[in-house]
Amino acid sequence: MSRIKTLAQLAPGQTGRVAGVCENRNHELAARILEIGLVRGTVVQYLRAAPLGDPIEVDVEGFLLALRRNEAEAVMVEID
């Protein structure tokens, strides 16, 4: 039984698999998120939020990426 959340909604340490990037808000942003490696099937782990709450740090298959919550909300993640 799997659930879909946005990347911004994961708890620290939680791992998921990218289900897709929401394209209806901003195509340019979606393309950039895809190109950085958040394509379907990629395993991501939410590591932590910055001390001031935003942005967040995630592990994308061994690559550490910082992105704002606004961007992370466009990334749909499937949790096992």
Binding site: D59, F63, R68
Partner: protein, 740 residues
């Protein structure tokens, strides 16, 4: 950048059997170095070229590409170090430059070969760019870096397998130890001489799209690659009207739009590269990531993270001020005391001595004196950048900067501007987005720099009473703190304003790589500092120097001949007296009086009186006008100019100057020229005005145009005048008749 002509290639192949290669007939090739940010590209470039490199501004923009020579026995490689990029579909000016240079736009031929640099610890990710580079169809070699780091952690790569998968040569290097560099040369010579076979597209697309492309491509008269680019809406020059029409048909048939096709391509590439990485990596390299993640747990900790950052930054600024003090004093002594006394001995008093002492030496001094601060600041910034911490600082501070429309990357340049706007503006190069960078540069001079502090110290000591305000806080300290706050608030408000008006645009998304931590390298540090010093002295330094000479001329000429004669006569009279301490005092008094009178007759004096009507609404007289004018060389010059105007000498202590200021009265009304309100108004004016040719020169250097420094000068001038006027009126209203 000379392309290898067809003839060179021909003789290159035919000759060697008969004539052995001669050193003087080395062939030359242009080779582009491209790779992801943090891929070790610059380290490789430094290892190949050493000091034989120069920074070249790419026409029209502010991003620089470095070029350098790599001399080998049989060939000279002209290396171009392109800005780091993640993708060839340009999303930033950096990436656009890389793409343009690799594809050979603007009548420039494409490079003879491309070296694609890949961090072996990030193979799966970095192969994305590799895939795009290979598709360009130029000869490519892939160079794997950070190999030693990976080996130490038990990670290794089957490079033969990787080369077979990619269809291009793959070479492992340890750039700092010089290992693998020979193989690069051999591979380069081979790929530029032999016919290059372009590997076919390696990644796969959904079957329906795959099928449609191969079906339509022949009738469109294009390659499958060209047609695919058209279907994805990437309008390359090969994308003709006919091709666009066919591309539209394909999209309609499959019921997809351009964005979806682009997503297919990106997903196809990632599937391909992750499969390759799985096939060729012998051992997983999680250890590198794990070490970095452990460090992040501390350095980005909700509470400690911020505390550590504050500690690092405080130490850095403490060092910039304290470490720079000694060399700055030394430079000041050499150019301000030692050399002038030397010329005073060698030359008779007159225009030449004055030009050398007050013009040339003062000019050189005002340039070189900035160097210690710049070098110390960049010493720290380079270490922070090279170790991987700089991205973390941007990560922690992004939230604050986001509120004014900037990103975390702008914080350090702005903070640096508290020492001096010059290194601050130079540090904006770490800001990746051009609108963010320009905004940062425009507001950086609003931060209270150390030169303003000198002016504030004098005026506060003279006119702000030292009385308690609340608890341990006293009025003088509160005033100084308010002035700093004023600068910060003004910078935040104008930054937000610029991002909504002249530099409007969507806030660029933050997709920031947090690279693995590593030890900073000495070589990178040394080369960066050398380059900074050279850039500052040659480009900004020349403008600052010229401006200092012009200001000297304005303050020295013209002279009133009748007055000069009186001075010479008076000097002779004093010199005929016996040599007593009284004679020396009288001589000094005469010199000071003459300097003050000369200044009145000089162009600066005339300008000061000419602009007095403009300054009158602020409560300033022409003497303050001269001070403001003199501040254009550097703000702290205000104090020494006031010293000359008030006849106490330029290097006298503040106390005698303060006494003269307080005693000065308006000859017509009898009211004091200097009141606390005048001092406060003047400080507010200094807080905002861009009275610093050095800052203007550096801004010109960094933006590659006079437009932005001119704009900064204008907007800060208007702001300064407006704020000073407001301060005066509010002050008069609050204080009532007291100040009238």
């Amino acid at each position: 950048m000379e392309p290898v002509s067809a003839q060179t290639r021909h003789t290159g192949k035919a000759v060697p059997a008969i004539v052995p290669p001669v050193i003087s007939e080395r062939r030359s090739y242009t080779v582009a170095l491209v790779g992801n940010p943090n891929s070790g590209k610059t380290t490789l470039f430094n290892a190949l070229t050493g000091l034989r490199q120069k920074v070249a501004n790419y026409p029209g923009v502010t991003i620089e590409t470095k070029t350098g020579h790599w001399q080998r026995d049989r060939a000279i490689f002209h290396l171009i170090d392109l800005p780091g990029c993640y993708s060839l579909v340009p999303r930033s000016p950096d990436e656009a430059i890389a793409a343009d240079l690799l594809l050979g736009k603007d009548a420039q031929p494409p490079p003879d070969a491309i070296i694609c640099v890949v961090d072996v610890n990030n193979l799966a990710r970095h192969l994305y760019l590799v895939g795009q580079i290979i598709e360009i169809g130029r000869p490519v070699i892939v160079v794997l870096t950070m190999v030693d780091d990976a080996r130490r952690r038990g990670r290794s790569i089957d490079i033969e397998k990787l080369a077979a998968h990619l269809g291009v040569p793959v070479i492992e290097v340890i750039a700092t130890a010089g290992i693998g560099l020979d193989q690069i040369a051999i591979a380069l010579e081979r790929i530029v001489e032999e016919p290059w076979i372009v590997p076919a597209r390696a990644y796969t697309l959904p079957p329906a799209l795959e099928h449609a492309i191969s079906e339509y491509a022949p009738q469109a008269g294009a390659t499958a690659m060209q047609l695919l680019a058209c279907v994805a809406g990437q309008h390359t020059p090969a994308c003709t009207a006919k091709l666009k029409q066919i591309a539209g048909q394909i999209r309609d048939k499959l019921g997809v739009d351009e964005e979806t096709v682009r997503r297919f391509i990106i997903e196809g590439r990632y599937t391909w590269q992750r499969e390759i990485a799985r096939a060729v990596v012998r051992h997983d390299g999680r250890a590198v990531v794990d070490r970095t993640r452990r460090l992040d747990a501390v350095l980005l900790h909700p509470a400690f993270g911020l505390a550590i950052l504050v500690a690092i930054l405080s130490f850095m600024f403490q060092a910039v001020f304290t470490w720079a003090a000694v060399p700055m004093d030394a430079i000041g002594y050499v150019t301000g005391t030692w050399l002038p006394s030397l010329t005073t001995h060698l030359l008779a008093p007159g225009p030449l001595r004055s030009l050398i002492n007050d013009g040339v030496l003062a000019g050189v001094g005002s340039v070189v004196v900035f160097l210690p601060q710049i070098l110390i600041l960049f010493f720290f910034l380079t270490i922070l950048e090279d170790s991987g911490y700089m991205s973390r600082a941007a990560f922690i501070l992004d939230r604050i900067m986001f509120t004014v429309g900037l990103s975390g990357r702008s914080f350090i340049p702005l903070l640096s501007s508290f020492a001096c706007a010059i290194p601050g503006i130079m540090a904006t190069r770490t800001v990746p987005h051009p609108r963010d960078r320009l905004t940062t540069m425009l507001v950086a001079p609003l931060m209270t720099c150390s030169a303003r502090l000198v002016v504030y110290t004098l005026l506060i000591a003279a006119f702000v009473p030292d009385q308690p305000v609340w608890g341990p806080f006293r009025l003088q300290g509160v005033t100084l703190f308010s002035l700093y706050t004023l600068g910060i608030v003004a910078a935040a408000v104008t930054a937000a304003l610029f991002r909504r008006t002249i530099l409007r645009g969507p806030t660029p998304p933050l997709l920031l790589e947090l690279p693995a931590y590593r030890k900073p390298r000495l070589r990178t540090l040394a080369l960066t500092l050398l380059e900074r010093a050279r850039l500052f002295l040659t480009t900004a330094g020349t403008i600052i120097f010229a401006a200092s000479i012009v200001l000297w001329a304005l303050f020295s000429y013209p002279r009133d001949s009748a007055h000069e004669k009186t001075f010479v006569a008076a000097r002779q009279t004093i010199l005929q007296q016996p040599d007593t301490p009284g004679r020396a005092t009288a001589l000094a008094a005469l010199e000071q009086q003459t300097a003050a009178e000369r200044l009145q007759h000089s162009a600066a004096g005339y300008i000061g009186r000419a602009i007095e009507p403009v300054l009158r609404p602020l409560g300033f007289d022409w003497k303050i006008g001269i001070g403001i004018l003199g501040s254009l060389a550097a703000r702290e010059v205000f104090v020494s100019t006031m010293g000359v105007v008030y006849g106490v000498g330029s290097d006298n202590d503040d106390q005698s100057l303060i006494g003269r200021l307080k005693a000065d009265h308006n000859p017509k009304t009898g009211a004091p020229v200097w009141t606390p309100l005048v001092a406060i108004t003047l400080m507010v004016f200094y807080a905002f005005a861009l009275q610093c040719v050095s800052t203007i020169a550096v801004m010109r250097r960094e933006t590659n145009s006079w437009k932005w420094p001119a704009f900064a000068f204008a907007y800060m001038g208007v702001l300064a005048y407006g704020a000073a006027l407001l301060t005066r009126h509010i002050g008069q209203y609050l204080l009532g008749p007291l100040t009238k």
